[in-house]
Symmetry: C2
Subunit: 349 residues, 2 copies
């Protein structure tokens, strides 16, 4: 088998979340690593207009690096990515700030290509409660309306940075399965950002998706976490959640200066320093484990899963097959005919 | 032949510009008049964010009146409109204010569905000179860049409210044919908004489109203009421009309060009153001629064209066939593959 045939024969590699300091170098590493699709963050605390400026910057990259990447909008773009040897880039927000206080912007941002939106980023938002708040009051009045509208237009509810009650209420209230694109189980590493067994079970039972994070603050033993420990954790999570609902969401923040992690944590909501998952002693981005430094290392995870006993079908599901199925049922609007013309002609994978 | 068969047998009715006070009543009149597609104005002086709010309002109408109208984005939506007995609504701006000073917004507004943008509205803009300015300096530096970008993404250059030199330079500089969506020839009625023979000839020679206005200030004898005079003017214009480049652009501003014509003329650019084409004696919207009061009267124009001697094929071309061909070559982006997936599957008309 030629290398190309081998690549096509395996299932897709899909990463459920990254936020790199985007460059030709990173896009070439995506290609070297055989990464077919990545959900990238295009907003942390941005207003609508600021988020649009970020899309404009992406549009310039799509023009300049059209041989490496393109704007992914539909599940069938995974097939297009594989056929053309490129990586499909799917947009998402870590925070609902881009829709401001305006429910009409939910449809607008979907039209612009957004496919994931977190209801909260650590703090209380207009929609729900973040995982760093002391009180979790669940979905707000606007939150319930916005979840319904997200369901209608095909924008995935992402609860990665939300607290437990809000997450459980989102799962309950949403007509479509939701996602936790990047986190780990707290049974393995009890970080505030990791998820309780109750949340994990409710997510799996509702056909939601859970993306495993490779961000050191979410890993047992942080930067020193071993591949074996990570893969054994995946196996335990599969027992709890079901193998069909698991994928990767690396949270890879490659080549970012530390000023960016400050922006992520502090935004414009405080004049003080907030270290988030870091500390005064380690305020910056932590070092990646040596078995997952960048987009070229997805094969290491595949090998690690094999080494702890996963079968080929389950490995393929976790590496991207499950995300692909989730994309297929999540992005197309509910209202049928009017928007059908914006959909691609379906392409067999 | 049943009425439905008759309707399908004739060519499409397409109106190159309207700005009504939109309501179920108007949409029902569009259906009663057999109007298959309308280019509607969604911005006069709005910023980007304000224009987005106008799209949000349209999205609510598309949901509420989905049995009457839908958002038209591609030429093939004309076929969809006819198959489903609805009117396709295409978006356009009378002024480049929604792209602010940001060329990246050209692609963004196309993604949001905008298909026409005037480079100027009466006044000097960042891009070109309006027809009410004393000095016409032609396309600006940014104007030349924006025209190139509009060509790339598939946003039509509309010079309805521009002055002669700017219009001739836009025709010359644009790689794609441009449009004057709503105006009349000044040989028939010498209003500032009407177009010189030089402009009309250059437009036709470059395969551009000219939409005849039914707005009384653009008509000979204004509200008292006769259908015969209008149709004879169409025939004279066909001799000058070529029948293939003519359509309708009614400029119908139905049910609007006079505060709206003030907004159109004055925006936020002056604290004084500017009467535009009106006067202190007649500051409001003028009365429509009795043979074109609303969307139910397109058949009158068809009859009028027949009465002055147009053949069936030429009538069909002017009533919508020429706009349809223009839409087919104007809205699809130049950059091929990446955006091909946003295009509809082509439907035979």
């Amino acid at each position: 088998m030629s290398p190309v045939t081998q690549l096509t024969a395996r299932g897709p590699y899909i990463d459920g979340m990254q936020y790199g300091n985007w460059s030709e170098k990173i896009f070439r590493q995506m290609r070297a690593g055989g990464v077919d699709a990545v959900h990238v963050t295009i907003a942390y605390h941005e207003t609508f207009r600021e988020m649009v400026a970020n899309i404009e910057a992406w549009n310039r990259m799509f023009q300049r690096f059209s041989h490496l990447i393109f704007h992914g909008k539909w599940a069938s773009d995974i097939a297009l990515a594989r056929q053309t040897g490129r990586t499909a880039i799917f947009f998402g927000f870590q925070n609902p700030s881009p829709i401001e206080d305006d429910i009409g912007l939910v449809e607008i941002v979907h039209t612009l290509g957004a496919r994931f939106m977190q209801l909260t980023y650590n703090n209380q938002s207009l929609l729900a409660t973040g995982c760093y708040e002391k009180e979790d009051t669940g979905l707000t009045r606007m939150g319930r309306e916005v979840v319904r509208e997200m369901n209608r237009v095909g924008l995935v509810v992402d609860m990665s940075h939300s607290s437990d009650r809000s997450t459980l209420e989102a799962i309950e209230h949403s007509d479509r399965p939701i996602a936790i694109t990047h986190a780990n189980p707290s049974f393995w590493h009890p970080a505030l950002r990791n998820k309780s067994n109750d949340v994990l079970k409710a997510l799996g039972q509702s056909a939601g998706m859970f993306g495993f994070s490779l961000y050191p603050h979410h890993l047992k033993d942080k930067s020193a976490c071993t591949l074996q420990s990570f893969c054994e954790m995946v196996a335990r999570t599969a027992d709890l959640v079901g193998i069909d609902h698991l994928g990767l969401g690396s949270d890879l923040c490659q080549d970012q200066p530390n000023s960016v992690v400050e922006w992520m944590r502090v935004g414009r909501w405080t004049k003080e320093v907030d270290y988030g998952e870091g500390s005064a002693a380690q305020p910056g981005f932590p070092e990646q484990p040596d078995w997952f430094r960048d987009n070229r290392d997805f094969e290491n995870i595949e090998s690690g899963l094999r080494a702890v006993g996963f079968c080929a079908a389950d490995i393929s599901a976790v590496m991207g097959g499950n995300w692909l199925k989730f994309f297929e049922s999540s992005f197309v609007p509910d209202d049928g005919r009017e928007t059908a013309k914006d959909r691609p002609t379906e392409v067999a994978i």
